[in-house]
């Protein structure tokens, strides 16, 4: 049992997933529906892969995080300055980022694989546990975190309290997408070690799902992500042992997420867990009110 747990928490795919989920929590806690995450992850993975091939592991990490932040900033410009609907922006930019990911990969790749980076279990486990702790500290113990959560609860009242909502949302996405960038880097260099067109597509939506299932709480998100990580990594043994078709297992996080959220919302839990109420609301300061 203990061996199993250690295996899961140090699994590079799970570590990447944890970072993606935490990154998403930052963004969605500030009130932005983060659908562009899927496209950005896809593009970040392609970037990590080709830059590792061309410049080595260390520089690749820098490049990946920088490019991830650049894409995230584009997303935030649409949300915060152009006041576009979050959902529409996410969907449109996803298509753009999928395309860009393939262009980046096809243009700069030298061979279809790289030697995977060897990180020991302890390092991998510490990366994810540290990020969980850091996310919780920032969100719940600092003034920036207070402001981020305030923007997710009620941007109008936050602005009235002297928070520059657009700036905080930008900041939240910068912090969040650093985690996303590192996660994508780990996925590309430690876990996958290879790239083909659209590698990584779909993980963004999975991360959004897991964040929602954990009611956007970083400490809750960790065990939930581990649980799904376990199912994911043991998909084939489950099929062999119990004859469960892989498609059924694949559907589990989505079904479970809807179930968990339904339970949370049907009980007084949701008052306690304080989910970002203004998620997806287009915030325009000069809106008329009585």
């Amino acid at each position: 049992m203990l061996v199993e747990v250690v295996k899961i928490i140090s699994d590079p795919l799970v570590v990447a997933l944890v970072l993606w989920v935490l990154g998403d929590i930052f963004v969605e806690r500030s009130g932005v529906i983060n659908l562009a995450l899927d496209g950005i992850i896809t593009a970040a993975i392609a970037t990590a892969f080709v830059s590792t091939q061309n410049f080595g592991y260390l520089i690749s990490l820098l490049i990946t995080v920088t490019i991830t932040l650049a894409f995230a900033s584009l997303f935030m410009i649409f949300i915060n300055i152009l006041h576009a609907y979050h959902v529409l922006t996410g969907l449109a930019l996803n298509i753009l980022f999928y395309g860009l990911s393939a262009l980046i990969g096809l243009r700069f790749q030298q061979s279809p694989s790289i030697t995977t980076l060897n990180l020991n279990s302890l390092t991998l486990a510490s990366i994810s546990i540290l990020t969980v702790a850091l996310t919780w500290l920032i969100l719940y113990k600092t003034s920036i975190g207070t402001a981020i959560r305030a923007c997710g609860f009620n941007p109008r009242a936050a602005e009235h309290s002297g928070v520059k909502v657009w700036r905080i949302r930008f900041l939240a996405s910068v912090i969040g997408y650093i985690a996303v960038g590192i996660g994508s880097y780990i996925y590309a260099t430690v876990y996958r070690g290879g790239w083909s067109q659209y590698t990584g597509r779909g993980y963004g939506f999975l991360a959004i799902t897991l964040a929602m299932a954990s009611t956007w709480h970083p400490l809750l998100s960790y065990p939930i992500t581990l649980a799904f990580g376990y199912l994911y990594t043991s998909i084939y043994s489950l099929q062999l042992l119990y004859g469960i078709p892989p498609d059924v297992i694949n559907a589990i996080p989505y079904i479970a997420s809807i179930t968990i959220v339904t339970i949370v919302y049907s009980t007084p839990l949701h008052k306690k867990l304080a989910t970002p109420r203004a998620l997806g609301e287009v915030y325009f300061r000069e809106e008329r009110a009585a």
Partner: protein, 490 residues
Amino acid sequence: MMMRKPFIEVVEIYKKFGDVTALNGVSLEIYPGEILAVLGENGSGKSTLAKILYGLYFPDKGYIKVDDVVTVFSSPAEAKNRGIFLVSQRPQLIDDMSVLENVALFLNISPSRDLKKKLEVTLRDLGMAIDVDRGVYTLSYTEKQFIDLAKALITQPRLLIVDEAATYLPRELKLKFLDIIKKFATRGGSVMYITHKILEAIEMGDRFIVLRKGNVVGVFEKGVDVTTIRRAMFGSEEYLTTFKRSPKKITHESFALSVENLIVFDEHGKPSVNDVSLNVRSGELISIVGIAGNGQKELGEAIAGLRKAARGRIMLNGNEITHAPASERIKKGLIYVPEDPFREGVAMGLTVAENVKLFSQSKVSRELLDALIKKLDVNPSNPFINVAKLSGGNIQKVSLARLLLTTPKVVVAYSPTRMLDERSKTLTLSILQRLAESGSAVLLLSEDIEEVLHISTRLGVMVSGKIVRFFETPDLESYREDIEKVMVHA
């Protein structure tokens, strides 16, 4: 005093929303230690001015001069840094966070033990005993309003803009609130005190500015009388203070609307309507009046079906509707006129014609539409423009069209005149009165004794969720003082 330098100067501020001009070149200045009262009707531009001074709105033209520095604010953060803070009618707190977190957010620091102590001291000075670790959603309106003020005072601001912030407070707390503001001014702070109530302004102000349709139409010094200000506020428009009802014999015996032992909880599980019973016959116009926040709003919403009744019964023409959805009740002949035209009175995305169409179960002809617009004096009169292009008062008039399409069995209205100028106010009240005369049962819930005194057949006073006393016609005017006394001290 005039020789001193003003803390803030507002110079030629213009602001338009679409086709509606909210501010049309407003200039003023406020000195340290001074309370400047800004008066005007709803829609005169006073709130827009407050929001521009606090950085919530960006002016089209004009600027602000603070300590001789010319600027405009593009966010409340900037205004706050200059020592300016706005307290408005709705407390601007984050419900999902604790009091402490809210204050920390405002001060831009992380919540700490030191802050907690400081906050507790400030609240004690204000005479408020509130556990600062409580979630804001558990607090009452009054408590929230005081915390909004307290968090501003901690920063030792230089200008407090008070935008009708005391309007909904219960009498005693209101006096306390106003006292805090006066004290703030005596210690050298500047105050911009925004209100539409002339007596309140005279009580508070050192100097007075009157706005009408976005223009400054009068500047007065201390000692000005009510009539002068009133004339400035309403201009040449007729100001109708009284209008007499002709008491009619009520012939119907059965109740069109009856409420039995109704209990309604507010958002936080406290009873805001506490065991209320009342009956309205066809042809009657009953008013329930009380200071804001005493449950009239919740009572109205519960009868309309916008709010759940926790206990008790609501009957419409002998049929129980306690748990029917709002739409069902409307279909059965109950009409509810909401207070907030923007959020409940109309659908902002639709045209005037489409809005009116929705009020009526049957087809609305072009002639009927034009007649309604004329009768309600909606301006501009084109029915095919989007309602969002109209001013607040005109939007409220569109919302009132629902009263003119049929003769409803029961009408319930909550502060229907809040957004209106005097003429439209009179029009609205006369519509309600006429409906009662032609057989509707009308229940008018109000915060303003003036508007209900002369048109009601019966008048109830609501205090802390209970109707404490009913006054009977014919001569309600003679009870005025009694009514006011009951409203304040029950």
